[in-house]
Amino acid sequence: MEIQIPLVIFTSFLAWAAGIFGTQCILALQKRGGAVQLPALICSAAVLVVGGIAVVFHLTHPFNLFNGFGHITSGITQELIAIVLLAVAMVLFFLMLRRSEDNTVPQWLAVVGIVLVLVLIVAMGHSYMMPSLPAWDTVLQLLSLLGAACVMGPATVAFIGAARGIEIEGIGLLAVIGAAVNAVLSAAYMFAMEASSATFQSFQYYFDPTHPNVAMANPANVSLFTGDSLAALVVAVIALVVALVGALLGKKQGAWKVWGAVVAIAGLVCAVALRIMMYTMGETLFMLY
């Protein structure tokens, strides 16, 4: 399938925004974070907006956005609802921060924020789980988005904290756990994608008279180790290793101004590469039409 760049940016950036906001909520739940909350919230909202703008360019015309969304069984509608709910929670978070004198928010809001982050990730991942596309139709695809949020969120918050000279207790551990979760979930999804080629419809020998010069579709060729998938695979593996090593070094050295940025960027690269693989591996079940 042709790589849908707007959707790649949309899912990666929304996972990033969810990761930052989720990290903020975890810190808020533990009465930590302090002065980093507001700049992190602005960063999270900005990333959410970038992802939201990117997805508009996936439509054949941006104004089609106003063409009557609302079919509730549609993953796109569910994503839209989850994004709006998360945006409302962010606004509440902002208002509570402004009212607070010690940069804290109520615990209930932190819990609601974490739940909405998870809802957004589930809605986003679930909308791509289609039986027609074996490489997508696995819960590991959904969990890979959670991994992306886990690696990018704490690293970004750690970077913002370091850049503004704010000490955030325990952020190093969060970043290491996030990078490890991402490494495991991303690797698991890559294995699942590679195994998916066994599901394709295969006729062994066939001929399409409308495409006489095109070679027969062979399910064995739908592999992470061929064509564009291979390049994305190499990038993703390097990125997830860099993120993990960066998080460990960041925790050890405490130099989050450098390692926070390295881990967040590596996490984003890993997420984007994984989404690109989704499209290069995204052959339909009946891949002969």
Partner: protein, 205 residues
């Protein structure tokens, strides 16, 4: 409940592509796209044979929108542009289509495509413009091998009508229930039928 569908007797299909071509002509399908495509499946070595001619078998398979019972394309559509009509067919309201192509991704058979010029998704309508006037889908009426038959699946495929007005049950050679096939079902419930008697169906049903 009605489920309009097409049944193709693959033993009668000669692979002339008249269905594919006539569909493109009558529906104005853009160059490079198809609402109805005819694939040649085979030559496949027969089981226990030499693997060489004449121990091989071939059939032609017409693939189009399967007008599924539980269409994924309908459930993923955010604007209900893709919808299922009471007659069982899946149609696209082009005025509502936003071109997100999730229906294209969700179709197990890859029969949908984005019309770049119009910015909307298209696929086989089962010639709604013709059937609404009591005519047959163009691919059925143009089938010179008398292989394509159209009707309500709820009434049984024997009642399907052919290009000259005959009923499938009265016209084609006898067949049993296990000689009626459908494309791979991943929960969508395809509605098109294929009859094949003495050749092995390739792929997963």
């Amino acid at each position: 409940m009605t489920q309009l569908a097409i049944c193709t007797d693959l033993d009668r299909c000669v692979g002339c592509l008249a269905c594919s071509v006539s569909c493109k002509v009558v529906n104005g399908v853009p160059i490079g796209n198809f609402w109805n495509k005819t694939l040649r499946v085979g030559p496949t070595p027969k089981e226990g044979g030499s693997g060489q001619f004449p121990d091989v078998e071939t059939y032609f398979l017409n693939v189009q929108c399967q007008h599924c019972e539980n269409p994924q394309c309908v459930s993923v559509c955010p604007t209900e542009a893709s919808h299922k009509l009471p007659d069982g067919t899946i149609q696209i309201d082009k005025s509502k289509c936003i071109g997100c192509q999730f229906c294209v991704m969700s179709c197990p058979y890859g029969v949908r495509y984005l019309n770049e010029e119009e910015g909307v998704v298209e696929k086989c309508t089962l010639c709604q413009q013709r059937t609404a006037q009591g005519e047959l889908p163009q691919c059925v009426s143009q089938c010179c091998g008398m292989a394509r038959w159209y009707g309500d699946a709820e009434a049984g495929i024997e009642s399907f009508e052919g290009p000259r007005g005959e009923k499938l049950g009265d016209f084609v050679n006898d067949f049993t229930e296990d000689q009626v096939y459908q494309l791979t079902d991943v929960g969508n419930g395809p509605s098109m039928f294929y009859i094949m008697r003495n050749i092995k169906w390739q792929g997963v049903e």
